[in-house]
């Protein structure tokens, strides 16, 4: 990603993604939180506190890791000072929540193995069903009764409040233009920004990137709008009316380490990567142009696919062989 100089998700304010004690604990029972502390993690913390002296070294170590992870998610870490560093790629410190929860749940399992009884197991199962079931039922009802269908007016204008949700159906997702609704500014060539040192504002492309998303091509100093005719797994075809002979900036993002093939009216044409992060082709004759862009898959990527598939297959087969037992003799 960095080798190809892509725009990266730097623009989330890290400090806004931290937890304070209030939302750390309230998130455990609030079904609307997306990243929440588990109710079972709370239980684990409570037991760790009251039984610390009886716990084994393993449980104590895991508890210390969990404590460290909780601290990392709070504003006790100077996240504001790290905003312009490489650390900002994590976007929100609450990314550590999954590690915290799973570690504390492993701690809880180890405690249950040591001290648990049937009643505690039933309680855990009952609470789990309650938590999962409630979230699904609440969300289902919220979707049916509180949300409105995506309105055609908003759909066609393509202007959305990023944080506001609406309801969509299968027929909307199946529309041809559904996947053009939004313009996603991350993982684009950095040259595509007007001011190269700038970063995109939160999830919004800048004006130059927007022209590419709208299939607008620069032709002899004039902007002309093209339209997508077809696409396959590895190519896309656009058409442009009234193109003047000379240079045409094809609205297709070009990455530093990738090579492309361009056909103009079914003939392979030479191209150049321009300083706007897109491709330039030379048009010989004025008039309508049908331009097909394909990616030449690098050999190393093809090899990685083959090696990866063989690696996964062999590993699974070896693990399933009867003589390879992943067993641990317990002294229980």
């Amino acid at each position: 990603m960095m080798g190809n100089k892509l725009t990266q998700p730097f623009n989330f304010k890290l400090i806004n993604g931290t937890l304070n004690l209030d939302n750390l604990f309230s998130s455990a029972i609030n079904w609307q939180y997306s990243t929440s502390f588990s109710l079972f993690s709370l239980m684990a913390l409570f037991i760790i506190c009251i039984k610390w002296h009886e716990l084994t070294t393993t449980i104590r170590y895991l508890s210390i890791i969990s404590g460290g992870l909780i601290l990392l998610m709070t504003a006790l870490v100077p996240w504001g000072a790290l905003q312009n560093s490489l650390f900002s790629i994590i976007q929100f410190p609450t990314r550590f929540m999954v590690f915290t929860n799973v570690t504390l749940l492993i701690v809880l399992l180890l405690i249950i193995i040591k001290y648990g009884n049937n009643a505690s197991n039933w309680l855990m199962i009952f609470l789990s069903i309650l938590i999962i079931g409630n979230r699904i039922v609440n969300n289902w009802q919220y979707r049916q009764e509180s949300l409105v269908d995506l309105s055609p007016k908003i759909y066609h204008r393509g202007v959305f409040d990023l944080m506001k949700s609406s309801r969509i159906s299968n027929s909307i997702i199946r529309r041809d233009d559904f996947f053009e609704l939004r313009k996603y500014p991350e993982y684009l060539p950095q040259q595509s920004l007007v001011v190269k040192s700038n970063r995109n504002s939160l999830l919004k492309p800048d004006s130059q990137q927007m022209r590419t998303f709208n299939h607008e091509a620069l032709n002899q100093g004039t902007l002309i709008r093209g339209k997508k005719l077809a696409s396959t797994a590895n190519s896309v075809t656009y058409s442009f009316d009234k193109v003047k002979s000379g240079e045409l900036g094809v609205p297709f993002f070009a990455f530093t380490n990738l090579n492309y093939q361009i056909q103009v009216n079914n003939k392979i044409s030479n191209y150049k990567k321009n300083d706007r992060g897109t491709l330039n082709v030379h048009i010989k004759n004025s008039g309508e142009q049908v331009i097909k862009v394909s990616l030449i898959q690098p050999l190393v990527v093809k090899l990685l696919w083959v090696i990866g598939l063989i690696g996964w297959s062999v590993t699974f087969i070896v693990l399933l062989l009867p003589k390879h037992k992943l067993k641990l003799k317990s002294n229980k």
């Binding site: 609307q32 079972f40 790629i89 199962i125 969300n139 949700s165 053009e180 313009k183 990616l295 002294n331």
Partner: protein, 239 residues
């Protein structure tokens, strides 16, 4: 064998059925909540759907989604695991497919969680309870957000890695190394950032298990005497 014990069959079936019913109900939905994140992931699924329906693998850049302008979201979101899940669910409607892609790894992960809990000394009932607790970490969709595929894989990768590290600290075990590599590779093929965080987390965990390791001593002996038989190393895990 786990599957030969009656009690295991009962609790393992209960894990699969309960998890399947609770999370699977969303597969029957005819509508879904959406905003930025959901659109992003629907676009990734669509890209793979188109490629697979033409008998091809998806390209490194996006030709059928994200406005068909060659965006490179795969740089952060490698699609190895998603390709497999999309291939399994291609016959479903878009909304059902979206939810099924989340449910399948949760189901498989729940079974793995159950087995790992059993192997580190839990009873069948305790393993069932642990598996349900882990499932309760998965947030179904609310508004724009939910537990993402990378978080689902990371959750189960942590559990498998934890078990693999215990095994590796007790004896020289090729299977455990392979299990660890499978767990990490599932996350590598889902989300690069989650992989970096997982590796950092595993380094911290490994430091402890290395410190506690029985074979660390054996390895030192091996260097000294060249005579240690790793297969005879006793495997005991005390909780």
């Amino acid at each position: 064998m786990l599957i030969k014990e009656k009690e295991n069959i009962l609790y393992l079936s209960a894990t699969v059925i309960l998890t399947g019913v609770l999370f699977g109900i969303n597969i029957s939905a005819q509508s879904m909540t959406w905003s930025q994140d959901v659109w992003f992931h629907l676009s990734r699924i669509h890209e793979i759907n188109v490629a697979l329906s033409h008998g091809q693998l998806p390209s490194m850049v996006n030709f059928n989604s994200f406005s068909s302008v060659g965006q490179a979201v795969n740089a952060m979101y490698p699609n190895g695991t998603l390709i497999l899940l999309v291939w399994m669910t291609q016959w479903l409607s878009p909304i059902s497919q979206y939810f099924a892609i989340m449910v399948i790894p949760i189901l498989v992960g729940s079974v793995c969680t159950y087995v790992v809990a059993k192997r580190i000394g839990a009873s069948s009932f305790q393993a069932f309870a642990f598996s349900m607790m882990i499932s309760s970490l998965m947030r179904p969709q609310f508004n724009n957000v939910q537990t993402s595929l990378s978080m689902i894989f990371t959750t189960y990768a942590i559990i498998l890695s934890f078990y693999a590290l215990i095994l590796m600290s007790k004896s020289f075990n090729i299977s455990a190394i392979l299990l660890l590599s499978i767990a990490v590779s599932l996350v590598v093929n889902t989300h690069i950032l989650s992989t970096i965080l997982l590796v950092l987390y595993l380094i911290v965990l490994t430091l402890y298990f290395w410190h506690q390791s029985v074979i660390k001593v054996d390895m030192l002996k091996t260097n000294w005497n060249c005579s240690t038989n790793f297969n005879n190393t006793k495997c005991v895990f005390t909780v």
